[in-house]
């Protein structure tokens, strides 16, 4: 394994010296996300396996090339799971790719314990930066404020800060009990319900709305779930149907075959229905909305920005449309300087971070 690290380090160094671009790609399951990269391929999958897993610590350290499915199976065998229910988008998904993409699934905004964004679970990373240096940030303990918290910044960095080698993640116990309710209503009613539940101490671990149906998942102890079933509306889904349903939400099954653009919209809580043309999947109490649409990017971005949100062309659609919205000039400059601190020659995944210049 160390030989592999040395090889990659040398490869990055010589690419830097020659100003040659490198394209970091493992399973390629999220290759669609972000701008296209042209460069020499660097495949981290050779670096795989569990480095340390002590279930009583609720921490796991794995090599970045480990298959995400393998990690999830290991955790499940010990009654644990990743807190953020990440999408795979294919069997080949790796843990490194999951962190670099930084995408969380249905459990993201749950009130239940320890859930959150991908970065909320990242405790430490080892990586090779754009100079070919091996760096180790953070650690394997849940509370650690020594040095800047660089590990969390790797989540969602799309391979532009370094080649991830090892990642330490906080994990959580699987809930003792889960139940899913389905309720037919309008989107406006669904949004009001979701936001209402958010304000109450209910064990809601996911909400979704599509095609006239509101689904809510409850996770927790027997008593908590039983109590919530009494007060929330809707019919209970059979267990396997519920599992399939949340898997479909997590993997965005509704948009799998479309040729139109799939947009990922992030919004503040309490935004009413957007009334944009297309097919929608609402999640996270209305704070994430997926939209399959042919509407022009300009229209979508303007509308979402006016509501205090952000819009990403997630998959498909017009490839000339920048996938990401622009940051403010001050933030864009800071982001560029942080990237330069890790990758001064801009050889790691150049073009992947493609933000709208005119937005």
């Amino acid at each position: 394994m160390d030989a592999l690290v040395a090889t990659w380090s040398a490869q990055i160094r010589s690419a830097g010296a020659a100003g040659r671009a490198l394209w970091i790609s493992a399973g390629g399951t999220k290759a669609f996300y972000g701008g296209a990269v042209v460069g020499e391929r660097l495949d981290p999958r050779g670096y795989h396996g569990v480095v340390e897993y002590e279930p009583s610590e609720l921490v796991v350290t794995v090599r970045a090339g480990t298959r995400l499915a393998d990690l999830e199976a290991l955790l499940a065998a010990h009654g644990q799971m990743l807190a953020f229910e990440p999408p795979h988008f294919g069997d080949a998904a790796t843990v490194g790719g999951m962190v670099a993409a930084g995408l969380a699934g249905p459990r993201r905004l749950a009130q239940s314990v320890g859930t959150g964004a991908v970065r909320d679970s990242v405790l430490g990373v080892r990586l090779i930066d754009g100079r070919g240096e091996v760096l180790a940030f953070g650690g394997r303990v849940v509370k650690n404020v020594a040095g800047y918290d660089v590990s969390r910044v790797l989540a969602g960095s799309l391979g532009t800060l370094g080649l991830l080698l090892e990642i330490s993640l906080k994990v959580v116990p699987r809930p003792v009990c889960e139940a899913t309710l389905v309720y037919r209503c309008s989107q406006a009613t669904a949004l009001t319900c979701m936001q209402d539940w958010m304000r109450q101490p209910l064990p809601v671990s996911a909400t979704a709305y599509a095609e006239g149906l509101l689904q809510v998942r409850l996770s927790g102890g027997e008593a908590a779930v039983a109590e919530a079933l009494q007060v929330l509306p809707g019919d209970r889904l059979p267990v396997t149907a519920a599992v399939d349903h949340w898997m479909a939400v997590r993997e965005l099954a509704f948009a799998r075959t479309t040729a139109a653009a799939l947009w990922r919209l992030g919004l503040p809580a309490s935004v009413p229905p957007l009334a944009l043309p297309g097919t929608e999947l609402v999640e996270w109490n209305g704070q994430r909305r997926w939209l399959v649409t042919d509407a022009p990017a300009r229209v979508i971005r303007a509308r979402v920005r006016a509501l205090g949100g952000h819009a990403t062309r997630f998959r498909g659609g017009d490839p000339t449309v920048a996938p990401f919205p622009a940051s403010s000039p001050v933030v864009a400059q800071l982001e560029a300087r942080v990237r330069a601190a890790f990758d001064p020659q801009q050889i790691l995944n150049p073009g992947r971070w493609h933000a709208d210049a005119t937005d």
Partner: protein, 497 residues
């Protein structure tokens, strides 16, 4: 503590005069303190063994004034040390003789509280507890609850990534802050994060949290509020040895419990606080655990019963459950007042803050007990056991130079032990000036160089809180030599991660 801090020494009166005159001209109406007696109250933070007078103190009343101060200081290339309430325990807000001390305490307005979105937008000088107080009428609260929450500011919490008892269940500051706004060292406005989750781009919010005033000045914070649990119950469990209590903690977590508080106090700590607080602790136990469940009434009843069973199986010799809210608060009062109690039984105390993997709690506490003998100083332990975050309180008298030296050596050995057990030198109090040398041991050269590059990415001239948080390479080179001389480089062969 840090012998090499360059900010120490007498203030140059001429420099003071020039800088103050410039600030007054550049920011009309700004509150500026420059008389010795006026700046004296700002000469230390919660790490009171370190004291230094600042060049001057400014107390802006608006965010615009903060920006103007930064612009003026940047033009003069005068460094700036931010200060919230000054409760920090690592000397992060310790003044610098050449720097302006920027107090953010007057930015104390709650700007908006949205009970529908469950968020509050507050200025950085708002006290931690004031947020929960404002949220209470809506049935909401702000989860991170440092023991200093009556006094410390949200800006200071963001700068330190502060934790608290409830963080085991609800996350640290970094998990509960949705966005921040403020100014760069040049005085340019920035905003990171916001009410819409998971914006694409680099997560500079995560980087800013815990950056100890070295990257940016924060003037506004958007926090997430959570619904207040309907019921809470606290268990007090006694153990015959600290090792047994440590094992019980690991057992609880391994069994899938996530208590809304899981704290340990050893016998020295319970005996220290009981006379002041009358919490009702078992003073015969070698260690006690405080273990809390929250949720709906049935949920709490269910969890308390299960945790009680688990604690018993792990060898608890006695378990008491709080019967009402008054009793629950009394149980916690002892824990929450441990630091003030240490201040009453000893002229000085030195609070350490290492974190270790939970399974090593027993071994590390035993090692600390051996150190008590070796250094001839008492060291009660009261800490966030569920997170493995230790707070050994080394009791000493700073007027006795020998005791001070022993306390420092004792603390340094505890931190080296934490690193050796795969942990970190600071879980929540920050590096400040205090633990800067220990960072040399925790991170290798290339990683520390990366930290310095990051710092320069935000602050190329190094004007924000110089000498704190991240050691320079030269410092580590010197520290490394000292270490070898002292024969202390005992764990040199262990991986530093």
């Amino acid at each position: 503590m840090n012998r090499g801090y360059a900010g120490r020494g007498a203030v140059d009166p001429e420099r003071r005069r020039l800088v103050v005159a410039h600030l007054r001209a550049a920011v009309p109406g700004l509150a500026v303190l420059d008389a010795e007696e006026a700046v004296a109250p700002f000469e230390c933070d919660g790490l009171s063994v370190e004291r230094q007078r600042p060049l001057a103190v400014v107390l802006p009343g608006t965010a615009a004034e903060v920006s103007a101060v930064l612009r003026a200081c940047h033009a003069l290339q005068v460094p700036v040390v931010a200060r919230g309430a000054g409760t920090g325990l690592s000397g992060g807000a310790l003044p610098h003789r050449e720097a302006v001390l920027l107090s953010l305490a007057r930015l104390d307005q709650i700007l908006a509280l949205d009970p529908v979105a469950c968020t509050a937008r507050v200025q950085s000088g708002v006290r931690n507890l004031a947020i929960s107080e404002a949220a209470a009428p809506h049935g909401l609260f702000y989860a991170p609850d440092p023991s200093s929450q009556i006094a410390c500011t949200i800006g200071g919490n963001v700068a330190e990534n502060a934790g608290g008892v409830q963080c085991l269940r609800y996350g640290l500051t970094v998990h509960n802050v949705l966005g921040i706004a403020g100014y760069t060292v040049e005085g340019e406005a920035f905003a990171f994060g916001g009410a819409a989750p998971d914006a694409p781009g680099l997560d500079l919010l995560a980087l800013a949290v815990g950056s100890e005033g070295t990257l940016l000045i924060v003037t506004e914070v958007l926090v997430r509020l959570l619904p207040r649990p309907a019921a809470r119950c606290c268990l007090l469990a006694s153990f015959a040895t600290v090792e047994a209590a440590g094992v019980a903690v690991a057992d609880l977590i391994a069994a899938g419990f996530v208590p809304s508080g899981l704290e340990m106090m050893d016998q020295a700590a319970t005996r220290m606080v009981e006379p002041f607080v009358q919490a009702g602790y078992d003073l015969e136990a070698a260690a006690i655990l405080l273990c809390e469940a929250d949720g709906t009434a049935t949920e709490v009843a269910e969890r308390v019963a299960a945790m009680q069973q688990r604690l018993q199986a792990s060898g608890a010799t006695r378990i008491a459950a709080s019967r009402d809210e008054a009793e629950r608060l009394r149980f916690w009062a002892g824990r929450k007042n441990a630091f003030p109690a240490a201040g009453r039984v000893s002229p000085d105390y030195y609070c350490m803050d290492g974190t270790i993997p939970r399974r090593h709690l027993g071994a590390v506490l035993t090692a600390i007990a051996a150190m008590e003998q070796r250094y001839g100083l008492r060291c009660p332990n009261v800490f966030h056991a569920g997170d493995g975050n230790l707070h050994p309180l080394i009791l000493f008298d700073a007027n006795d130079a020998d005791q001070l030296a022993r306390a420092e050596a004792f603390g340094a050995e505890i931190l080296r032990t934490c690193i050796a057990f795969g942990g970190t030198v600071t879980g929540e109090h920050g590096v400040g000036v205090e633990k800067i040398d220990q960072l040399c041991a925790q991170f290798d050269d290339p990683t520390r160089v990366a930290f310095l590059r990051l710092r320069a990415a935000f602050d190329p001239a190094g004007l924000l809180n110089p000498g704190k948080a991240i050691p320079t390479l030269r410092r580590c080179a010197e520290h490394g030599r000292e270490h070898v001389h002292g024969g202390q480089a005992r764990f040199a062969d262990l991986p530093r991660w």
